[in-house]
């Protein structure tokens, strides 16, 4: 039996306005080679100037993951030739990264959808900053280069070889993404190349403590790509060793279309990057003040928030597991709560009704919550209307749909459409008596002890009031009248 050991190197594009070492802007999806300048093209005489924002974002990431933040970090040149690399070297951090160590808390899938899975912490080796390269597109006879992406800030988050299954890899990537999104550090859209992953994979006999020979797997362009690639590589290595072969240290490329990994280069062909400190840039000091200020900017982190919602607000896992992983949703929920402290009712509306409407409203995929016409004030008011007995729950559902479509406040909708719940006792009593008279069979069954038979009577009253009757009141009236 073998144990798999996996370490991941994840590159994350930071959300900064400008590039890592120049003021040229960066946005996704622009006309090729329009987001460039002398520095990006590596013209003679161009010099890098550090983007302070990128440093701060990376320090934040380090603080989130409990890394040790360097007092002083420096920049190194990683020298190699490739057409997507304009200077012939990449500015990176070799032996003095911005962040060292740390952990990423992950949650494995529970045994059922409504059961929280186990949590564990995956060890980090380091987080460092570097600049991205351009994008090559190959054709039969030629290749085109777009330098728009060249020079954008990338944080490289390197884990220790501390994962042992595809499930852990999946949970790790999910957690990284969730935390980075939470702190506004990165968008982490793998399809847009904002998050890229290389995996180092080895196997060893169970019980062995020494690491096996590792294979580096590249070109893992989506979360499913990572999972499929890692799965394939574990199987390939296992089969190889079982059939008497030996794993060789190499870099392999994942081909997602063919679902196979192919050898790119062996250890012998590995580059000598000739790292040396970049003489164009000064070392960076990270002061205690800066660290403190950035720590103060950090939001409550999702797993802690989830614990709090469950312990203090009494929300179930099925709800917190929907609301907490997305900061926008959690913020929305908390904004509702500030207006009307009814966590369960509000959480239900947000996690069920709102998400359902949003998922059906977007042109492409779900409508972002920021674009929703329903704001926290709507939800808070709607819960209040139900709570005060002004409208019934079924009516509330209807009002929700209407306010989602129009953005009108729920009270306005209720007034305009005359949806106020009827609590007029005389009128209701008359209707209840009519229902009892019209349904003698149900009454008899109820008297015989079949409690749910009363529902037929309730339904009849509801129908007569077009849903506006207060259900609790009907219940009380019917039971009294039948006696």
């Amino acid at each position: 039996m073998f144990e798999t050991v996996i370490g991941l190197e994840v590159h994350v594009q930071l959300k900064t306005k400008t590039k890592m070492f120049t003021r040229a802007p960066y946005r996704y999806g622009c006309e090729p080679n329009t987001l460039t300048d002398a520095v990006v093209w590596a013209l003679p005489g161009a010099l890098p100037v550090m983007n302070r924002e990128a440093i701060m974002q990376t320090v934040k990431a380090g603080l989130i993951f409990d890394s040790e933040i360097a007092d002083i970090c420096k920049w190194d040149r990683k020298n190699y030739f490739y057409p997507d690399l304009p200077k012939g070297y990449q500015i990176s951090q070799y032996d003095r990264p911005l962040c060292r160590g740390g952990t990423v808390e992950i949650e494995l899938a529970g045994s059922a959808r409504n059961i929280m899975g186990t949590h564990r912490k995956v060890l980090l080796n380091r987080i460092h900053l570097e600049e991205d390269v351009g994008k090559l597109t190959h054709f039969d006879q030629e290749s085109l280069i777009d330098y728009n992406r060249a020079g954008t800030p990338l944080a490289e988050i390197v884990s220790e070889p501390d994962m042992h299954s595809v499930e852990e890899v999946f949970a790790y990537l999910k957690s990284l993404r969730m935390h980075l999104l939470y702190a506004g550090i990165a968008d982490c859209d793998m399809e847009k190349g904002q998050m890229r992953c290389d995996a180092n994979i080895s196997i060893r006999p169970k019980g062995e403590t020494k690491l096996g020979t590792k294979v580096e797997l590249k070109n893992l362009n989506s979360i499913s790509g990572v999972c499929n690639g890692v799965k394939y590589e574990i199987q390939r290595q296992t089969d190889l060793v079982n059939s008497g072969g030996r794993v060789v240290q190499e870099t392999r490329r994942w081909d997602a279309d063919k679902n196979v990994s192919l050898s790119m280069r062996s250890k012998e062909d590995a580059h000598d990057y000739r790292y040396f400190p970049d003489p164009d840039l000064m070392p960076v000091k990270i002061s205690q003040d800066m660290r403190n200020a950035l720590r103060a900017e950090l939001p409550e982190l999702p797993f802690r928030k989830q614990e709090r919602y469950q312990a203090e607000l009494g929300l179930p896992f099925t709800i917190t597991s929907v609301i907490c992983p997305e900061k926008d949703l959690a913020d929305f929920f908390e904004a509702c709560l500030q207006r009307n402290p009814k966590p369960k009712e509000i959480a239900n509306l947000v996690a069920n009704d709102l998400l359902r409407e949003l998922s059906q409203a977007g042109d492409k995929g779900s409508l972002p919550i920021a674009d929703s016409l329903v704001k926290p004030a709507h939800i808070a008011e709607l819960v209040g209307l139900v709570d005060s007995g002004a409208i019934s729950k079924p009516i509330a559902q209807d009002v929700f749909k209407k306010m989602f479509a129009s953005g009108k406040m729920p009270a306005v909708i209720v007034r305009e459409e005359g949806l106020t719940q009827s609590s007029n006792t005389d009128e209701l009593e008359a209707l209840c008596q009519k229902a009892i008279a019209d349904n003698p069979k149900a009454v008899e069954q109820y008297k015989a002890g079949k409690e749910q038979s009363i529902n037929a009577l309730k339904g009849s009253v509801m129908k007569a009031t077009q849903g506006k009757a207060n259900p609790q009141m009907i219940d009380v009236l019917l039971k009294r009248l039948i006696k």
């Binding site: 300048d37 200077k87 012939g88 840039l281 000064m282």
Partner: protein, 489 residues
Amino acid sequence: MSKPLYYHSAEELVALLNKKVISSVELTRAVIERTRDVEPKIGAFISVNEADALKQAEASDKRRAEGRTLGALDGIPLSPKDVLADENQPLTCASKILKDFISPYTGTVMQRLRNAGAVIWGRLNLDEFTMGSSNETSYFKPCCNPWNTECIPGGSSGGSAAAIAAGQTILALGSDTGGSIRQPAALCGIVGLKPTYGRVSRFGLAAHASSLDQIGPMTRTVADAALVMEIIAGLDPHDSTSYNAQVPVYREALKAHAHVPKKLGILKEFFGDGLAPDIRSVVEKALRFYEKQGCELIEISLPKTTLSIPVYYVIATAEASSNLARYDGIRYTHRSTKAKDGIDLYRKSREEGFGSEVKRRIILGTYVLSSGHYDAYYLRAQKVRTLIRNDFMTAFESVDAILCPTTPNPAFRRGEKLNDPLAMYLEDIYTVPVNIAGLPGISIPCGFTTNNLPVGLQIIGKPFREEEILGIAQTFEANHPFAQQTPIL
């Protein structure tokens, strides 16, 4: 006028312009015509822009007539070494690999000079990518020493020094990585200042060795060097290594140091074997002059400076190997038409585009950075570099400046050392330590050898105290007006 316009200092010419005795167009025409006359013998320029320069001069005259001159240099011809980026101007670095390159942007120093109204005139010759001490490695043509056209002008800023000495321009810019301003200034009998590392922005200077490079003025007089420094020095947000310190009005600030008794260190190691007797006697005479002026001459020893050349050739080549990687045949450089595939495109373009001295240094630099050699070479060189700098800083606790010859030899004959790189490297033995320590250094003309070749005196100062060495230089210049002597061409 007794001397031709083109042999005046900028300071004199500004006065003539202001008094309307001459116009910028006349002045510009004078250097253009002088260049037409002597350029075939000298080879100072890689390219010229006669019509463009005259247009700039006209604009300057118009500004002056309307009473809105831009700055201290308005209307004065100034020629950059062909390593400084200036929009829509060629930027060849004297290399085949950039022979057709036109810069699409302007670097900081050129921008500041244009803002000050300078008439930017031509692009000056140099050793390819500033690698050399004789201007013989230029892809385009060698440059000759105006004092003896059989001899080299020094390098790498040979074109800048020769153009000033031959009256082909009024002010010139050089760049100095291991002596490339001071050595040719010495060999051509002009003033050349290498500022403190960080004093002048490198943004727009095609990099040779980033931790050593500085741009500096090459001029006929000390005052002219001060004038150019006033414009080009100072913090630049485009260069992270530029230093945030007040820039003095150098022409004023140097007065506090001129004709003032100073404690001058005489660096023992720089008067040892290998110093040509002719140079020694001229420089020693200059030292005696300072003594007579009331200066205290203090012999000092900085034994670690003798390690400067090996340290330099490790650090400079390492940085250069990386800095020159961008000239790759992919975007804007020479691209080979013989390449079979992608990798071959790099190989062939660089093989065809770079000259042999550049290739030698790229190979050396790549070697010293290679895994397994890094600690023994690069890391060790950096440690020794710190020791050399510390040595200098200790010396500056007891002296105000250090005096020594700029070069061990006068200008040598073309071809004499071209195939002996070690001999060539040793020509920079007195200038390299100054770059290693990041200090300011100036070379001023201090006399002639028996063969009538100029000799340079180097004055090394404390960090960011350019005004002090300019002052000490002016003390000498005031009594030895070498700028009045011009070569016969």
